[in-house]
């Protein structure tokens, strides 16, 4: 699955290496919530994440900047040392405050680690808590299923199963056998789908803005009889000239990016990202993603109009209206 994803996003490989996904809230045994003061900027929080994820016992972590907390997940109770947490937070340049521990008991097989695995499913058709209960009961009746967590809000389920005994196909069959649900294995790894979507949107916006600068803005200014302004503009930014000489290729690449971005943003299961991050943050991100996409479309449209459309239109107007 990851290979396919990598192929699709080969163009963005350097960014994918540099930018890691956000961990999902998978099965865990201890949750340690650390309140951190001074946590105001996502860029600065990167160092904090890298410091804390190296701590002994940390399986996953989530940084919630708007709440000012870092949540650490561990497979073993008491394995994450509070002193070390405080030390690492200070090293990252922040001030640690309260540290709260919360435990969650999963069934025994979880702690053996090697014998079990978690299968992540997306389930369509759930409408109420009764559906959740229905699915949970059906899955728990399968031999080899140790734990089931069904999430109505995210239309998803995490099923802890014994390796080699239960397969994802079996779980899907059972869920669909209930008659009103459609299930599939989640086709993402942690936050990578969400990340891919935003990176593509960003590049789409970036390239389309490039088009606006190099090819459309001078044309637009010239169209309103601002020839001298165009001259000044190109004198100030002479590097626009070689870019504009290859505008066909730039338009093509940008168009492909916008198309890909549109596919990721508007596809039916586009909200899958929310099943990773969840909550209001995810909704805000979704809005920003759409804003970036439609912004790119608007900029691209403006670029196309002024680069390829306005001259023929003016000629037509000259020909039929002013001659």
């Amino acid at each position: 699955m990851i290979k396919t994803l990598t192929k699709r996003t080969l163009f963005f490989l350097p960014f994918l290496i540099l930018v890691n996904g956000q961990p999902a809230e998978n099965s865990w045994k201890e949750k340690v919530t650390v309140r951190v003061d001074g946590l105001a900027c996502p860029f600065c929080a990167y160092g904090l994440e890298k410091k804390l994820e190296r701590l002994n016992g940390v399986e996953d972590l989530i940084i919630k900047i708007n709440e000012g907390v870092v949540i650490l997940y561990s497979d073993e109770k008491g394995k994450i040392d509070e002193k070390l947490i405080r030390q690492k937070v200070k090293e990252a340049g922040f001030t640690p405050r309260e540290v709260e521990r919360e435990t969650m008991e999963l069934s025994g097989a979880r702690s053996n680690g090697d014998d079990v695995k978690t299968i992540h499913l997306s389930i369509d058709g759930m409408k109420c808590e009764f559906c959740v209960l229905n699915i949970e009961t059906a899955l728990k009746n399968i031999e080899g299923v140790d734990e089931v967590i069904v999430n109505l809000e995210n239309n998803s389920a995490e099923v802890l199963v014994k390796k080699g005994i239960v397969r994802a196909d079996t779980l899907i069959e059972v869920i669909e056998g209930l008659g009103k649900f459609k299930a599939r294995v989640k086709k993402y790894k942690k936050g990578i789908d969400f990340m891919k979507q935003n990176i593509v949107n960003f590049f789409a916006l970036f390239t389309s803005t490039g088009i606006l600068l190099c090819c459309a803005l001078p044309a637009a200014i010239a169209a309103i009889a601002g020839g001298a302004a165009v001259g000044t503009f190109l004198t100030t930014f002479p590097w626009l000239i070689p870019i504009s000489q290859h505008k066909g290729w730039i338009f093509l690449v940008s168009g492909i990016l916008i198309g890909f971005s549109g596919f990721l943003t508007l596809r039916p299961h586009g909200k899958i990202a929310c099943s990773v991050t969840g909550g209001k943050g995810c909704e805000d991100t979704g809005r920003l993603t759409k804003f970036m996409f439609w912004g790119a479309v608007a900029v691209y449209g403006t670029g196309v109009f002024f680069s390829y459309g306005i001259v023929p239109i003016l000629r037509l107007l000259d020909k039929y209206m002013f001659t």
């Binding site: 860029f43 708007n66 960003f202």
Partner: protein, 264 residues
């Protein structure tokens, strides 16, 4: 003109643009202990394009050092190549953290070595020094910065170039307070003042040197996790230069900043 070029170049070089900080002025941010960052800045002024490569390392949570090496692209009268190496240090001596906010003061120091080829107009031929003080307030929504720095220019031959005092103030806003793994745009506007002392040649003041200039610089900082893109333009708004000197020009900066995992 040559002096003006080096003054302008060094003005860029001593401007630490790490993280959420002013693009042209000073800010108090550090990278965290054992953490490091790489930055590439492309800048444009009336002397052509320059690409600065910077590496930043956090010795302690509050002390960071930076090495910056510029590559100057060729223009008329100058072949492209490496310019003067700059080493800077920053000590954040006060930090007051609150939930979702931080206030800090930092001391800055720097030295510019004469590593560039002077015969090719890629180096000043002098060792120059910098001292500075900065303040920064950062919250989830607002940023405010203020900084003052003083550059002591070295003497080359019979020319004693005037020292330069820079003052900057900046305000930034984060319109969307999204979560950690979301794209994070911040808009920034800076007010920059530059007070250049007169040059002295063989002990006599040069009439066409020194003066005051003010500028305003809108910019954007766009980060996505550990990668930040920055762009800004400095627009001159006021010049009071001694004698007959060319007016200040618009300056442009575009930078990519990558925050790397700590070594230890």
């Amino acid at each position: 003109m040559k002096n003006a070029f080096f003054i302008l170049l060094f003005t860029f070089l001593i401007g630490n643009v790490f993280a959420h900080e002013p693009l042209f002025g000073l800010g108090p941010h550090t990278v965290g202990q054992y953490a490091w960052a790489l930055e590439s800045e492309i800048e444009r002024d009336d002397d052509g394009w320059t690409n600065h490569y910077e590496i930043i390392y956090g010795i302690t949570p509050d002390i960071a050092i930076t090495a910056a090496l510029p590559y100057l692209f060729s223009v008329e009268g100058r072949k492209g190549g490496v310019g003067d190496l700059v080493i800077r240090g920053k000590y954040r001596f006060i930090r007051r953290d609150a939930p979702g906010a931080s206030n800090a003061f930092a001391l800055h120091g720097g030295i510019k070595l004469s590593t560039g080829d002077q015969s090719e107009n890629r180096g000043s031929g002098t060792t120059d020094y910098l001292i500075g003080l900065s303040f920064g307030h950062e919250s989830r929504r607002n940023y405010a910065f203020a900084g003052i720095r003083y550059k002591i220019n070295g003497i080359i031959g019979d020319l004693n170039r005037g020292d330069i005092l820079h003052i900057n103030a900046a305000y930034g806003i984060r319109p969307w307070q999204l979560e950690y793994a979301d794209p994070d745009p911040v808009f920034l506007v800076e007010i920059l003042g530059q007070f250049k002392g007169r040059n002295y040649r063989e002990g006599n003041p040069e009439l066409n040197s020194g003066g005051i200039s003010l500028g305003i610089a809108p910019g954007i900082l766009f980060s996505y996790r550990n990668v930040m893109l920055k762009a800004g333009v400095k627009i001159p708004i006021f010049d009071k230069l001694n004698g007959s000197q060319p007016a200040s020009v618009r300056e442009f900066v575009f930078a990519v900043d990558v925050h790397m995992p700590p070594f230890k």
